[in-house]
Every structure is written in structure tokens, then in C-alpha cells.
Amino acid sequence: MNELLALPREWLAATGEIGRFMGTVVGDVWGGRVLHFFGETLRQAGILIVSSTLVVWALMFILGLVCGTEGAYFLEANGAPAYAGVFAAWCDLREIIPYAFGYMMAAKVGTGIVAELGAMRISDEIDALEVMGIDSMTFLCATRLLAAWIVLPFVYMAGMGGAFLASYIAVVQQVGFVSSGGYLLIFWEFQNPPDFLYSLIKAMVMATAIVLVGCYYGYNASGGPVGVGTATAKSMVLNLVLVHLIGMLGTQIFWGGNPNAPIGG
């Protein structure tokens, strides 16, 4: 019996440990301690912009094309090609684009953080920070979280614009079953500014989870280069699970009770 309970116990303990770590990092940002290292925060923000923005936008654009193409052919097959905008609007804003953002954040930013912090851990750089009298968790983790909070809303909003454009190109220019005006009328009818805000909240919760998971696995990496590789893989698995959990919960919370669909009376 004890053996059967060992695994769940281990998971519970790990969850508690991750939760405590995340709480400490969020507390460092919330409590303003991270502002002692605002220069480092800006440096991390710069790195995020330069190294990750284009690839995140690229995936969002491509999945915007996918939403447009799927919507156009699906609704044409059901005799309602003029309503391709409904599919594109919901697919882009509510589901696929937040997921695309989460996937690329996990793959590019999350794993990058694990690899960087893990390498710092095994080469004693984190210990070096500590013995210089610098709180390494604030310096390395809280600065990355604040940088993500500063940069990523704009990255996401611009990326969503790119995805909207991609869907328009796919539906109107490529497939061409509906006119530009007809598509846009329906597309904008099925979304409003609160939807955009909800979508942004969904994406930012995903981004926060991804950065924190990356920091946890990187900061606590051990066992040399193999250990860093294992930590990177573990973080990717957990991040993908969290991205989908957050996506599902976000949809339930924001649109489960009120789908905001102007159909019927």
C-alpha cells in the first residue's frame, strides 16, 4: 500500500515545491524587490524581444492562415461560406492563437530559460551570485517574470493582429468564397473588446506559468549536462499540460456562461 502511495506522494510533494517556488518569485515581483535589478529586467526584456518575438509571430500567423482556410472550406461545405468569419474569429481569438502563443513560448522561451539557468547552476554561476550577496532567485527568476509581463502583452496583441490578417488572406484572397466586406462584417460581429481582453488574459496566464516552470526547472537543475537536458524535457512536458489546462479553463470561465455569439434573438 505504501508503495502504491509513494508516487502520488512524490507528485504532491513536487507540486508543493513548485508552488512554493512560484509563490516566492511572484512575491519578489509583486513586492517590488525585483526593482533592485531593474537594469537586468530591461536586459531580459530586450533579449525576449530580439530572440523570441519573430518566431512567436510566425507561428501565430501560420495558425491564423490555418483558421481561415479551415473556416472557409468547412462553412462552404455546409452551404454557408459567408460565415467563414465566425470560424476565423473564434478560432483566432479564443483558441488556436492563444495555444500557438503558448506552444512557442514553451518551446522557445521556457526551454531557453531552463537551459540557461541550468547551465548557470552546474557551472557554479548561481552560487557565485549568491556569494556576492545577490539574491539569485530575485536576480534570475523575478527579473525574467517581470520582463515577460512587460513585453509579452504587446507581442501577443501584435501577433493576434498578424493572425487576423492571415485569416483574412486565407479566406478572402486565397480561397475567395466570400467578399472582403462580407467576411469582415461577420468577423467583427462575432467578437468584441472584452473578448480580446479575455484572450490576452488567457495568453498571459500561460506565459506566466511557462516562465515560472522554466525558472523552477533551470534554477533547481542538477546532475551535470544530462541533468539540464532532463530538466528541459520535464519543463516542456509540464508546460504543454499547463498550456492546455489554462486554455480549457479560460474558455470555460470567459465564454462558458456567455458565448457572446450574436445568433438568434
Binding site: S123, D124, V131, M132
Partner: protein, 271 residues
Amino acid sequence: MAVVKEEEFDWHTGQNRPAGVPDAIQFIDVHKSFGSNEVLRGLNMGLPEGKVSMIIGPSGTGKSVCIKHIVGLMYPDSGDVVVAGQSIPSLPDAELFELRKKFGVLFQDGALFGSLNLYDNVAFPLRQHTEKGEDEIAEIVNRRLGEVGLGDANEKMPNELSGGMRKRAGFARSLVLEPEIVLFDEPDSGLDPVRTALLCELIKEVHAENGGTYVVITHDIMSARRVAEYIAVLWRGRIVEAGPSQELFESENAFVRQFLSGESSGPLGME
């Protein structure tokens, strides 16, 4: 806690010959285990103020663990570590971070920050902990890099440096805040004999110029002969003998004699 077989400590007289000055660092009955492996097994050791002390002993005997206890990166399972009169395990985080500003630590591979060039690595502690302007920082950094012979390598990244250069750069970085205590974790590891000798000379010169308590971890006897003013011989998690280096080199203790002369016959075997 693992069972202690007293015959393992037949050679451990624990004798601490006086160095004539008070201790800057004290280990008091320190025990530390990693799983079932008990590394420190009742360590009592004092390292004198203002001297270059060496903790020497066979590999895997707990030398690096000692350094981590001194700077509070590890805490003892039991016992106490006292540095500059303050009990490290009892210090709150804020006070520990403050105390750490008095330390300079040279890690085995230098532990330079891979994302910063050499200049920025050495300038890092000054930018974080002082209000000095960039001109003053540049003056200090260039002086320290010059002292370790890296005056013309400012712009190089750590991955462009050899192992010896990284150690020297780490040494320069550990000195910029003019620490009261400087700790060296195996500064000679991975270096050829000539560069080891040069690094030892450098440690002596810098200590003569700046003063302070230096603690060097090593298992290299030549380094001990060149640099040490005080030696503590550590084996199986306890001190075998400690004292001024000249007295230790003349010790009658069979283990100390074997280790300090590098002979194959004696109490220390391959086990």
C-alpha cells in the same frame, strides 16, 4: 546518522597548533550528510585571521563542502560554523547576504557569467553593491585585471578564455570589493604545473598587498608548500592535524607525513 567506527580515526589527533592570531572562521562539531554518505563527521577546525590557510586532504573528503558551509550555501546537519564572530546557520537571509559582501570566492572553473564579457564580469559586483561611477569602476576593474595579467582581454567572453585565464579572471572578480575573506576552491585543478606555480605566486602577491584571510582548498602539495602559512589536513570528515605550515611539514603523524610528502605507503590507500 551513520555509525562511526573509531578505528577510522586512528590517525586523527585533531591537534590544532596555535597560529598566534584569533580564528576568523571556526567549524564546531560540524556534521553533514548527503543521503547515507556522511561527509563531515564532527569537524572541529579554526582558520586564523589574516593568514593564507590551506585545507588539504584526499579527494572526496569534504573540502569543497567546507567552503559552501563558510559562505552559507550549505548548512550543517548539526554543529556550528562561525565566521567573523557570526553563526552562519543562525543568520537571517538579509544578514547573510550582507555578510557575503565581505567574501570573495574563486570557484573551480572561475564561475564567470557566460553572458557577460570579462570586463563586465569583473565590474558586476561593483555595479551591484556600490554607488561608484563608471569611470571609477573602470579604474578598479582595469587595475584588478592588470594584476592577474588579463589587462588586454577586457572584451573577451568567458568561452574564449583558457581554463587558467578563467581562474585568473575569477580571482580578479573576487577581489574587486576588497573582501576581508577570500576563498579558493581548488585553484590549481586542471592547470599545468607552471601555471599552477604562477597562480600560487599571484595569490601570495595579492595577499601581501591587500591582506585579509585567505582560505585555499587543494590536494596539491606543491601549492601548499608555495602558498600556505597555515594548514589543516582533512580526512574522513575530520581534521587529522592543523597548524602553521612549517610545523605541519615536520609533523610526526604518519598520515600527515604520507600526504604532505606524496608517498604511496602509509595509512592512506586507494579505498
